[in-house]
């Protein structure tokens, strides 16, 4: 059991800066997900922690020890690779026992731990087989079993589920989450799949271009994204962003969008008058009204996608294209007109130039940018 701390980590490959001055603290027992698109540096950061890459600047501390210059084998970590990296020339038993044998554990201990890990991953009947004789999903289990058998201080996972097909991925997600909760090991998990990140982590570190953009609980990342990148990356569908500005005609501020305007009775919002803004709102926070009315925005329906549990509408209002989520019985015709009400409590404001969120005076709601 150990905590992990990254101080000012920098890693470059030639002219490319993969990790740009990253600080991160992971408490003992914490499950942190590094989330981001390809090339954002999340895998590189993980590999720096593993010792598979040497950092160009900064320090890595594991359990209080400075591990920056230690080779992987001295860092008391275990890792699950995206390709599983299960040794093809060894039986499953020997694969799982590999780390223990390196630690020169006695045979009885090895036997016991391998059985324990195998049972946890439901592969205890396959131990005598070779990796080529089992399925990809089972190989993934072997990789996890191998990592947990060593009882390392920190568990590192590099997109362990991305090579599984969609159904298997969903099942393994839940299984893995339960398993890791049971073990309680400090875990750092890399993924580009935001659904995975939201479902599994205690905290999510959203990364972009080598930096941590937001470090927060899944709910906070979803509801209070630190900038338009996070809002657009997290959530299915991505957050809607509309160019907006605030005008003050009288007491109540008016939100002006390209497709219409509506009043928003919030003095904090009034402070944003005169600035160029981006209004962010989630698809499910937009309510469809059948008829025009006060404070509603008119929109034209372009596409209706029935998804079973709800319908996803693509609508056009002014210059903007929005995604709106409606209950399954609401099925407007394409090209018909509908009216939208944006739930005031779910509206987020971002600066038009930087894309960063503008925190309004609700301390409980303020995001914590990385």
């Amino acid at each position: 059991m150990a905590d992990v701390r990254f101080h000012a980590i920098r890693k470059t490959f030639g002219k490319v800066t993969a990790v740009d001055d990253v600080d991160l603290e992971v408490a003992d027992g914490d499950f942190v997900v590094l989330l981001g698109p390809s090339g954002c540096g999340k895998t590189t950061l993980l590999r720096c922690l593993a010792g598979l890459e040497k950092v160009d600047g900064g320090r890595v501390l594991i359990g209080g020890r400075d591990a920056t210059n230690l080779p992987p084998r001295r860092r008391r970590i275990a890792m699950v690779f995206q390709s599983y990296a299960v040794f093809p020339h060894l039986k499953l038993f020997d694969n799982i026992a590999f780390g223990l044998r390196m630690q020169k554990e006695p045979k009885t201990v090895i036997r016991e731990r391998v059985d324990f890990a195998a049972k946890l991953l439901h592969i205890e009947d396959l131990l005598d087989r070779y990796p080529s004789q089992i399925s990809g999903g089972q190989r993934q289990r072997v990789a996890v079993a191998r990592a947990i058998a060593t009882k390392a201080d920190v568990l590192l996972m590099d997109e362990p589920l991305s090579n599984l097909d969609a159904l298997l991925r969903m099942e393994m997600r839940a299984e893995l989450k339960a398993l890791l909760r049971q073990l309680g090991t400090t875990t750092i998990y890399v993924t580009h799949d935001q659904v995975e990140a939201l479902s599994m982590g205690d905290r999510i570190a959203v990364m972009n271009a080598g930096r941590i953009v937001q470090l927060d609980s899944p709910l906070a990342v979803y509801d209070y994204p630190a900038d338009t990148f996070v809002g657009g990356f997290v959530g299915t569908p991505p957050m809607n962003f509309l160019a907006a500005d605030i005008s003050r005609n009288g007491a109540v501020p008016l939100v002006n969008l390209s497709g219409g305007s509506f009043p928003l009775d919030d003095p904090e919002v009034g402070r944003l008058a005169g600035r160029r803004l981006v209004l962010g709102i989630r698809a499910e926070a937009i309510v469809v009204e059948p008829a025009a009315g006060e404070g509603l925005i008119e929109a034209t329906v372009i596409v209706v996608e029935p998804l079973g549990s709800h319908n996803l509408l693509t609508v056009k209002t002014g210059d903007d294209l929005l995604k709106v989520s409606t209950p399954p019985h609401l099925f407007p015709e394409p090209d018909s007109l509908i009216w939208l009400r944006l739930e005031p409590g779910r509206i987020r404001w971002m600066d038009s130039e930087s894309g960063r969120a503008i925190p309004l005076a609700d301390p409980a709601a303020a995001p914590v940018p990385g």
């Binding site: 593993a50 010792g51 598979l52 080779p71 992987p72 084998r73 970590i77 275990a78 890792m79 690779f81 390709s83 990296a85 040794f87 093809p88 020339h89 590999f98 780390g99 390196m102 630690q103 191998r146 060593t150 590192l156």
Partner: protein, 275 residues
């Protein structure tokens, strides 16, 4: 316009299988005939017309060849040279191949290019100065001398094929081993090496055969201690037919057998997979 598909397809298939069969016969018949000739009696080797079917096989011709003065020793020397070459080339070349496969380092591309470039230099231009140099050093006409020359020829091949073999072993496997407690060297021995072994073995065998076959350098670098090909070449003028038949068979047979045995690994060696 075009004839109906089935007719064309039928004709095409006959043509295809026919060509394949013809080509196969072209390859196989000489091998068969050589074997036949080598295993005919002394008398039959002079006979005309020759027997085209295996009747009256005998080991007379082979025995004649082997007992011919100098052949047995030459055979022994060929084996020794091939083994030394194999060991030297592999021991020296495998680390370089590994380095090329695993590390992106300055000079890596230059090395690869130079190694490939050595193939452009004919063995002819290498052997002559080597002959002169070896005389100066006192290793001319020795097994060691020939081995040195053969290793110089085989080394580029070994470097390139081991590089390709190791490139086919995912580096993540060694990385996984390193996270499980191995140093780089241990990870190499316990993970990379076992997985690379079939490819390495295939290249080792190929080096053996190349050394076994090599005749130009061997003839230039030896006089009284010749390897088999050099010996056969030297005795060729005025040699009786049974000598030629048996000699040809002896030089040909190991190559063919080896290729048949390692053919699947040949392709893994060259980085492609084929049935």
């Amino acid at each position: 316009m075009n004839p109906p598909r089935s007719a064309v397809a039928g004709l095409g298939r006959v043509f295809v299988y026919g060509s394949a069969a013809l080509l196969s016969l072209f390859i196989l018949i000489p091998i068969y005939l050589m074997t036949l000739a080598a295993f005919s009696s002394n008398e039959d080797t002079y006979a005309y017309p020759k027997e085209l079917l295996p009747r009256g096989l005998s080991t007379e011709t082979m025995r004649f060849f082997i007992n011919f003065g100098g052949v047995l020793d030459a055979l022994q020397r060929s084996v020794i040279v091939a083994v030394i070459t194999l060991v030297l080339a592999l021991v020296i070349g495998t680390p370089a191949g590994y380095a090329l496969a695993r590390f992106a380092f300055r000079g890596g591309d230059t090395l690869r290019l130079s190694v490939v470039g050595t193939r452009a230099f004919p063995i002819v231009i290498l052997s002559i100065p080597l002959a002169v140099i070896f005389i100066r050093w006192g290793v001319d006409d020795t097994v060691l001398g020939v081995s040195i020359a053969h290793t110089a020829l085989a080394l580029p091949f070994v470097v390139l094929t081991t590089a390709s073999v190791f490139a086919g072993v995912s580096p993540e496997l060694e990385e996984a081993a390193m996270t499980l407690g191995c140093s780089r060297a241990t990870a190499f021995v316990k993970v990379a090496l076992p997985l690379a072994l079939p490819g390495l073995a295939a290249s080792a065998i190929f080096v053996f055969i190349v050394s076994w076959n090599e005749v130009f350098a061997a003839s230039l670098l030896t006089l009284r201690h010749r390897t088999l090909p050099a010996e056969v070449l030297a005795l060729l003028e005025g040699a009786p037919p049974n000598f030629r038949f048996a000699g040809g068979f002896f030089l040909m047979a190991p190559s063919v057998i080896v290729i048949l045995l390692i053919r699947r690994y040949l392709f893994s060696m060259w980085g492609r997979v084929l049935k």
